[in-house]
C-alpha cells in the first residue's frame, strides 16, 4: 500500500524517542564479540581468492587453469565459463563486474577465482592460472573518454538519449529544469562561468568485503556476508547463478561500514560458485588493495556552471553541465547530481544537463547521497564567488534564494514543508558565524540537498510470555538503527526501552526489505515498526475486551496497558502488556504484530555547513579549524546517532575535499590502492564537529522522522572550498585541494 492513509498526526509528547539510551549491540562491539563479515567460520571451510587483471583494458583470449587445478589443495577454480551464459538484463553488468567476460575493463577486474584448503595454497594457485591477454588502449579520465577518438569500452554504446556524434563511451544523457537560461542571464548584473573537477573517492569503510558461502548440488545455499541488504544479495546472486530466491538464504553479518559501497555484490556470487563446484563452504575476504581496486568508488566529475545574479543577490539563472564517469559500466549518479545541483534554490530559470560516461575504472557504487556532493561543490562554489564579487553576505544570498514550501524544485516537483531556511537562519544566528578569523584563515558556507527514500519494508514484533518484546527487522544496522527501532517500539507500546530487543533476521525470516540506503531505515523501518506495534496493541486490546466481556472499541491502549474507555466499558483495572502476554494461550494464542509496506513518499532533507580553515601559504597545507553542521532531522529519535551521522558525513566530506583521490598512472593502473596513499582523515586531522539538530517534522511520518544519513556529505566539499579560497586568496575549483594543488594555485595567483 501507499501511505496516503497513514496516520500523519505527528506525535509530540515522547517518553523514549529523543532520549539517549545505550545501544543494544554496544556490549558486543566494545568487547570484540560482535561478528562481522570475516569473523564467521564453517566446518570444512576453504579459502577463496580472486585473480585480477593487471591491465586497465584487455581482451581475454583464453584462460588456462589446468596447472592451478592440479595443485594439491586446490578444490575449485572458476572463471566466467562457470556462470550462466545468459542472465537477466538487470544483473548482466553486475555479473560482468564480479567476473570478467570477453574483456577485462579495469585494473583489478576479476578474471578467475580459486578455492583451496589454505590461503597459502590459494595464493600459489592464482600464480599458476595462465591468462592470455591482448592489451587494448585505455581511458580513465571522464573528459578524455568523451572525446570522439577515445578508446571504446562497449561497442554497443549509449542509449536513445545520447545525441548523434558522441563517443560510444557516453551511455546516457539527462536534462532537468525549467525557464529560459539566456533570458535569466540577461537579467543578471553579473554572470560567472566556471569549470570544476572532482576526483573519484572511495567510501572507505574499514571492513573489507567478506563472505562465507555454502552451496549444495540440490540448489540450496546459505550465505553469510557483510552487506547493506541481505535481500539484494539474495536476489542478485540467485539471478546470476540461476538459483531460486527461496533456496538461497542470506544472513547479514554485523557490517563494518558501507556508505553505499555495500549496496551491491562483488565476492558473493563468486563464493557461491566456488562452493558449488568444490562441494565445501568457501570463505572469501578482500584485501584492502582489492577493496580499492575493485569495489565501487564514486564517480570523478567535470562540471561547468553558469550563474547570473542581480546586485541585490537574486539568482536570475543557473545552468550546469555535469559529466561523471561511472567506471566501466553505465550508471554513474550523474542523474542524481543533475537533479540535486540547484535543489536548494527557488529559481525561475534553471537547467542541468548530465552525461553518464564509462572509463577503464572500477564500476562506481553508491556513495552517501550519490552524485550530489560533486554537483553541490560546483554550484555552491559559483554562488559563493558571485556573492563575494558583488559584496554580498553568502548566507543572505542563500536565504534570499532559498527553496521553501511551494517552491517548484529545479528537478520538477513542488516542495512541501522543508527545512532549508531553518538551517540557514540557525547558521546565521550561531556564534560560529560571527567569530573572528586570524591571518590566512577563511570561513566558508554551503548548502546541500538530498532525497530520502522509503521502500519495501517488513517487520515483525513478537510478544514473549513474560511481556518482553522482540522486534525482527531485515535491515543491517550500520550506525545504531537497532537502538532507534527499539526506541520507537518501546515508545509505541508504552514499555521501557530495555523490555524490547531488536534483531536483524536472515532472508528466510521476513519478507523483502530493501537495502539499507537512501537514508531510509529510520524513516521506513521506523514507520513499519510503529505500525507493527500498533497492530500488536490492537490485538492486546481485543484480548482484554474478551476478558472483560466488552466491545473491542471500548478498550484503549495507554501507558503500556489496555484500559476500558468510554461510557459502556465498565470498571476494569488496566491490564499491562505483561499480564496480557502471560495468559495469551488462554485468549487465542501468541501475540504478534507485523507490518509490510512499500513505504513510499519520503520527504527531502537539507543542511547548511560552516567551516573555518587555515592555509599555510608556504606549503599549501590546509587545516580545518572549526566545523559546524546545521541539518533538519525531522525528529531525532536517538540524538547521539543523528549527531554521529552529521559528524561522519562532514568528516568524509573533509577527506574528499582535501586529500582523498584515486590516482591513475598513464598506464591506467591505480597507484594508491592502500590506506597509506588513499588518505582518509585521521583523528589528528580534525577538530570537534559541532552538530546542530533542527527538527522540522516530516508530515509523512507518524513521529515526524526524516532520513539523516546522507545529506551531511553534500555541503562539505563546497563549504571547505569556499573557506580555503577565502583563506588562500585564490579560488579553488578542483578537488582534492591537496597541498601541491593549493600551493600551485597560490603561486599562480602570485605570479598573475
Amino acid at each position: 500500500m501507499a501511505l496516503d492513509d497513514r496516520d500523519t498526526a505527528t506525535k509530540l509528547d515522547f517518553k523514549v524517542v529523543g532520549t539517549r539510551p545505550p545501544r543494544p549491540d554496544g556490549i558486543d562491539k566494545v568487547t570484540g564479540r560482535a561478528r562481522f563479515g570475516a569473523d564467521m567460520t564453517a566446518p570444512g571451510m576453504l579459502t577463496g581468492r580472486v585473480l585480477r587483471s593487471p591491465h586497465p583494458h584487455a581482451r581475454i583470449r583464453s584462460i588456462d587453469a589446468s596447472k592451478a587445478e592440479a595443485l594439491p589443495g586446490v578444490k575449485a577454480v572458476v572463471t566466467r565459463a562457470d556462470f550462466p551464459a545468459e542472465v537477466p538484463e538487470d544483473v548482466a553488468d553486475v555479473l560482468d563486474n564480479c567476473m570478467a567476460g570477453d574483456k577485462a575493463l579495469y585494473d583489478g577486474h576479476a578474471v578467475a577465482a580459486v578455492a583451496a584448503n589454505s590461503a597459502a595454497v590459494a595464493r600459489k594457485a592464482l600464480k599458476l592460472i595462465e591468462v592470455d591477454y591482448e592489451p587494448l588502449p585505455h581511458v580513465t579520465d571522464v573528459d578524455a573518454a568523451m572525446a570522439p577518438d577515445a578508446p571504446v569500452l562497449h561497442e554497443a554504446g549509449g542509449d536513445e538519449t545520447v545525441p548523434e556524434g558522441h563517443s560510444r563511451n557516453v551511455m546516457s544523457r539527462v536534462q532537468f529544469g525549467h525557464g529560459d537560461i539566456d533570458a535569466g542571464l540577461a537579467q543578471a548584473d553579473r554572470v560567472i562561468e566556471r569549470s570544476y573537477r572532482t576526483a573519484a573517492t572511495h567510501q572507505g569503510y574499514i571492513e573489507p568485503h567478506a563472505c562465507l558461502a555454502s552451496a549444495g548440488p540440490d540448489g540450496q545455499a546459505d550465505l553469510w556476508c557483510c552487506t547493506q541488504g541481505q535481500y539484494m544479495v539474495r536476489d542478485t546472486c540467485a539471478a546470476i547463478l540461476g538459483l531460486s530466491q527461496g533456496q538461497l538464504r542470506v544472513t547479514a553479518s554485523e557490517i563494518g561500514g558501507g556508505f553505499g559501497g555495500k549496496t551491491t555484490v562483488f565476492l558473493e556470487p563468486v563464493a557461491l560458485a566456488l562452493s558449488r563446484k568444490a562441494g565445501r563452504p568457501v570463505k572469501m575476504v578482500m584485501s584492502r588493495a582489492e577493496v580499492l581496486r575493485a569495489s565501487g568508488p564514486t564517480s570523478s566529475s567535470s562540471v561547468d556552471v553558469r550563474l547570473g545574479m542581480t546586485r541585490d543577490g537574486r539568482i536570475t539563472a543557473g545552468f550546469a553541465e555535469l559529466r561523471y564517469q561511472g567506471g566501466a559500466y553505465p550508471g554513474s549518479p550523474v542523474d542524481m547530481g543533475s537533479m540535486s545541483a540547484f535543489a536548494p534554490y527557488d529559481l525561475e530559470n534553471v537547467r542541468t544537463v548530465g552525461w553518464d560516461v564509462v572509463t577503464n575504472r572500477p564500476k562506481a557504487a553508491a556513495y552517501r547521497a550519490p552524485g550530489a556532493p560533486m554537483a553541490a561543490f560546483a554550484v555552491e562554489s559559483a554562488i559563493d564567488e558571485l556573492s563575494k564579487e558583488l559584496g554580498l553576505d553568502p548566507l543572505d544570498v542563500r536565504l534570499k534564494n532559498a527553496a521553501r514550501e511551494g517552491t517548484k524544485a529545479s528537478y520538477g516537483p513542488t516542495f512541501p514543508a522543508i527545512g532549508l531556511e531553518a538551517t540557514l537562519e540557525a547558521a546565521r544566528a550561531h556564534p560560529h558565524w560571527s567569530a573572528p578569523l586570524g591571518e590566512n584563515q577563511g570561513r566558508g558556507v554551503a548548502c546541500g540537498f538530498w532525497f530520502n527514500f522509503g521502500g519495501n519494508t517488513c517487520v515483525s514484533l513478537n510478544v514473549a510470555p513474560d511481556g518482553t518484546v522482540t522486534l525482527s527487522e531485515g535491515n543491517p544496522d550500520i550506525g545504531g538503527s537497532r537502538a532507534s527501532m527499539t526506541m520507537m517500539a518501546a515508545e509505541e507500546l508504552g514499555i521501557p526501552y530495555d523490555r524490547v530487543r531488536t534483531v536483524i533476521t536472515d532472508t528466510g525470516s521476513l519478507g523483502v526489505n530493501d537495502v539499507t540506503d537512501g537514508s531510509r531505515v529510520t524513516f521506513a523501518v521506523g514507520l513499519a515498526t510503529i505500525e507493527a506495534a500498533r497492530a500488536a496493541k490492537r490485538e492486546m486490546c481485543r484480548r482484554a475486551a474478551m476478558i472483560w466481556g466488552i466491545d473491542e472499541e471500548a478498550v484503549v491502549w495507554e501507558d503500556g496497558a489496555a484500559r476500558p474507555s468510554g461510557p459502556n466499558a465498565g470498571e476494569h483495572p488496566p491490564m499491562s502488556l505483561a499480564e496480557i502476554a502471560a495468559i495469551a494461550p488462554n485468549t487465542g494464542g501468541p501475540i504478534a504484530g507485523h507490518h509490510e509496506v512499500n513505504a513510499e513518499g519520503a520527504g527531502v532533507s537539507f543542511a547548511t555547513h560552516m567551516v573555518d580553515t587555515e592555509v599555510d601559504r608556504d606549503t599549501g597545507a590546509v587545516k580545518i579549524l572549526r566545523y559546524t553542521v546545521f541539518q533538519d532531522a525531522g525528529k531525532a529519535v536517538h540524538p547521539d546517532y543523528v549527531e554521529g551521522q552529521f559528524q561522519g558525513g562532514a568528516a568524509q566530506g573533509i577527506g574528499w575535499a582535501l586529500n582523498e583521490e584515486y590516482i591513475y598512472g598513464d598506464d591506467g593502473v591505480l597507484q594508491n590502492p592502500g590506506f597509506l596513499d588513499y588518505r582518509v582523515p585521521v583523528a589528528s586531522d580534525l577538530p570537534m564537529i559541532e552538530p546542530v539538530i533542527l527538527e522540522i517534522p516530516n508530515p509523512g511520518h507518524p513521529y515526524g522522522v526524516r532520513g539523516v544519513g546522507e545529506t551531511s556529505i553534500v555541503p562539505p566539499l563546497a563549504a571547505i572550498a569556499n573557506a580555503v579560497s577565502a583563506a588562500a586568496g585564490v579560488r579553488m575549483t578542483q578537488l582534492p585541494m591537496s597541498p601541491p594543488r593549493v600551493l600551485a594555485a597560490i603561486h599562480g595567483a602570485d605570479d598573475g
Binding site: 573489507p208 554485523e254 575476504v285 550500520i478 570537534m688
Partner: protein
C-alpha cells in the same frame, strides 16, 4: 612445510599454538585461536583495527609474525573487560556513542587503554595524535575523543 611451535601468554592465559612462518600474529589470533575481536582493515599497519599490546607495547598485530610472539605477553580486546565488569573506556564508548558500525572499536579501545596507562590526563590533541593510527570512517572521531577523555576523567576520579 614445517610449522612453528609457539608458547605465549594471551590475555593472561598460557597459550600454545602452531603456525606457518609467514602467518601474522593477527592471522594466528583470528584463525587459529578464535580471537576475532582484532580486525583486519588493511593488513599493512595503516588502519589500527588489529591493535594489540605485546609486552605492554601497542602494536599492529598484522605487522608482527605469529612466531615473534614466543615468550611474549599479548593483550587483545577480548581481555579488556574483567568478566562482566567493563573497562571504563568500554563504558564511556557506550555512554558517549563512541561507535557507529563498530569495526574500528576494538582497535581504538586497545590503543586508548595503552594511552591512558602512560598518560592518565591526556589533552584532546594528545588523544588525537595517539589515535591517528586508528582509522574510523563513521564518526568523524568527535565522540571517540570525547569518550576517551571521559574515561580518563572517570579513571582519575576512581584512583
Amino acid at each position: 612445510m614445517s610449522q612453528i611451535h609457539v608458547t605465549t601468554t594471551i590475555n593472561g592465559d598460557a597459550t600454545e599454538f602452531l603456525c606457518e612462518p609467514e602467518e601474522t600474529l593477527l592471522d594466528v589470533l583470528r584463525d587459529r585461536l578464535g580471537l576475532t575481536g582484532s580486525k583486519e582493515g588493511c593488513g599493512t599497519g595503516d588502519c589500527g583495527a588489529c591493535s594489540v599490546t605485546v609486552d605492554g607495547r601497542l602494536v599492529c598485530s598484522c605487522l608482527m609474525l605469529g612466531a615473534e610472539a614466543q615468550g611474549a605477553r599479548v593483550e587483545t580486546i577480548e581481555g579488556m573487560a574483567d568478566g562482566d565488569d567493563l573497562h571504563p573506556l568500554q563504558q564511556t564508548f557506550l555512554d558517549h556513542a563512541g561507535l557507529q558500525c563498530g569495526i574500528c572499536t576494538p582497535g581504538i579501545l586497545v590503543a586508548a587503554k595503552s594511552l591512558l596507562e602512560r598518560n592518565p590526563a591526556p589533552s584532546e590533541e594528545e588523544v588525537r595524535y595517539w589515535l591517528a593510527g586508528n582509522l574510523c570512517r563513521c564518526t568523524g572521531y568527535d565522540k571517540i575523543v570525547r569518550a576517551v577523555m571521559a574515561a580518563a576523567d572517570d579513571m582519575r576520579r576512581a584512583s
